[in-house]
Amino acid sequence: MSTETHHKTAVHALDDLPLLGRDLSFHEVTELVAHHTEKKTPTAWFGAFALANAGLLLLVAMIAYLFWNGTGVWGLNNPVGWGYAIVNFVFWVGIGHAGTLISAILFLFRQQWRTAINRSAEAMTIFAVMCALIFPGIHVGRVWAAYWMLPIPNQMEMWPQFKSPLLWDVFAVSTYFTVSAVFWYVGMIPDLATMRDRATTTLRRKVLGFLSMGWTGANRHWRNYEKAYLLLAALATPLVLSVHSVVSFDFAVSIIPGWHTTIFPPYFVAGAIFSGFAMVVTLLVIARKIYKLEDIITIGHLEKMNIIILLTGTMVGFAYITEFFIAWYSGVKYEQYAFLNRAFGPYAWAYWTMMFCNLVFPQFFWFKKLRRSIPFMFAVSITTNIGMWFERFVITVTSLHRDYLPSSWDYYTPTWVDVLTFVGSFGLFFTLFLLFLRFAPMVAIAEVKYVMPQADPHYYDDHGDGHAGDQAAKLARSSHHAS
């Protein structure tokens, strides 16, 4: 390729922290990312894919078993009418939030380091939301009536109940899924065109040519494209905040002690971002190693994500303590009991698992050494997701299992079907994620190039091979760069 365009220099962001691990040319960035979709499928990928597929099959089998027998195969009992299905739903939706935060909110804040991780985080969002959407679909008992959740004209001439938070949730999560998928696809078009132009087989060229829509990197197109991308980010930002707020309304709008609190929307959003970032770290620590992307997804990027985990983990921990305080301060006996029962009742084991995983472990990220330690951050990312799953379990089950009358008290235990359905949902998630790693550009190639210093047209003014500006302009620029 044309070596004359490969100007090598230290790759520095505006804040003088390297965005890339070493000096890369535009072509090297293309090569690093695109060749993973072009090479022969590695044997290890098939191994991982087989394992993920086994999980997917397990999920399908459990759902089939559930449909055949009804929700009696789950561990639900009289006071605990909501169990694993809602816990898993909230867990998976929450994980999705990090992807949108990275792709939209960090974009609006001009956080250029996001370009290394946004594509894979967005993919994670979409797959996590797909996993989440399964649970409300299958938990309705009479699955053939699941379409009643949507405003579809039917023979009863009845409409959904728009005053119910559960219906708000249908709209929030399906909008979230649609917008995330569209955002992801739009972002991928230039990179699909890159892969199209590198394609060596007719089939690849045709499929990628179809998907990339005839993209030629025309500036007349970039103009509308960048504007659309900015607007999508601006729309996705309030959307992602609304989604977990609406999910929290499922609980907060009811009058159950332990659920009926105004702190829920911000607390759920913080928890969602917390768990989502942990999942991104889990996935990227593995992916960057296997795909040798350490120069694009650097330790600095991982450290920044760990700082966000520290921040949101602290917010979540603060919310746990606030909840407890407000329960005491409210003077409402039932509310106080609900919280004391959480911490010291029959589910204390789940409560303290949650507290340690979410409140205590992320605090180690105050230490720079631990923030930059791959094994340590991997361990914390796992415990964070365990902790966040238990948070939803604690909120759902402990608030329900002791109703107002002691005659309506019971202990909820999941059945093997509950547990295996949850395990199976990971099979679906990893099946989709492995397909993504194999066939799609896993890093936003065009966006990474855009934040490289060589992409700035003025970069060449000082290097003598462009059309050099006059001396005064040069000085003005260099003082601008220094500031």
């Binding site: 293309t30 001439e157 219906l167 659309a228 060449y460 059309h467």
Partner: protein, 205 residues
Amino acid sequence: MSTIKELARDVKGSMGIFDGKDESLYGVLAEFRHPGALLEAARSVREAGFKRFDVHSPFPIHGMDRAMGLGNSLVGWLTVGGGIAGMALGVWLQWWTSAVDYPINISGKPFFAIEPSIPVIFELTILLAALSTVIGMFALNGLPRPYNPLFYSDRFRKVTDDGFFLHIAASDRRFDLESTQKLLRDLGATHIETIRDSGTADAEA
């Protein structure tokens, strides 16, 4: 009639879709060394009076819109339109289904009130605004465009990797094969080729 044709040509030109000239001549494609040279070239080509030209690069180049003399993108208006339509749909859907078509008394609540309707109105606003943004962006760009004479150029494949190209359409009023090529060469193009709409592009470096 001719003004309508002219308008259609301008609209297509804003999408980067240009007509050919003299049967098969589509335009001249010039490659530049780097984004800085491309930006300078685009500015000079505009100053030379050309209207039907476009630059192609692997990523958007800062300042190129101004260098090419392009105004602000119209996508935002479509976003606003979609958002208003979504909001109206949200209000109408909830009001008509629960207060007009089949009113049901639930816990004595009003059949329709704005407060519990806000989440669905909000979601539909975002949904339609986002979809109209994306569909509008494709429409304004004239995408999908599976056929493009520029694809005849083998060199043009670099455009999505590390190539920086400027294309002047043959249908531009000021276009003249000889002088346009000379202009581009003077601007520092490293490689120039003529694009023909039928058959393979012939390289004339």
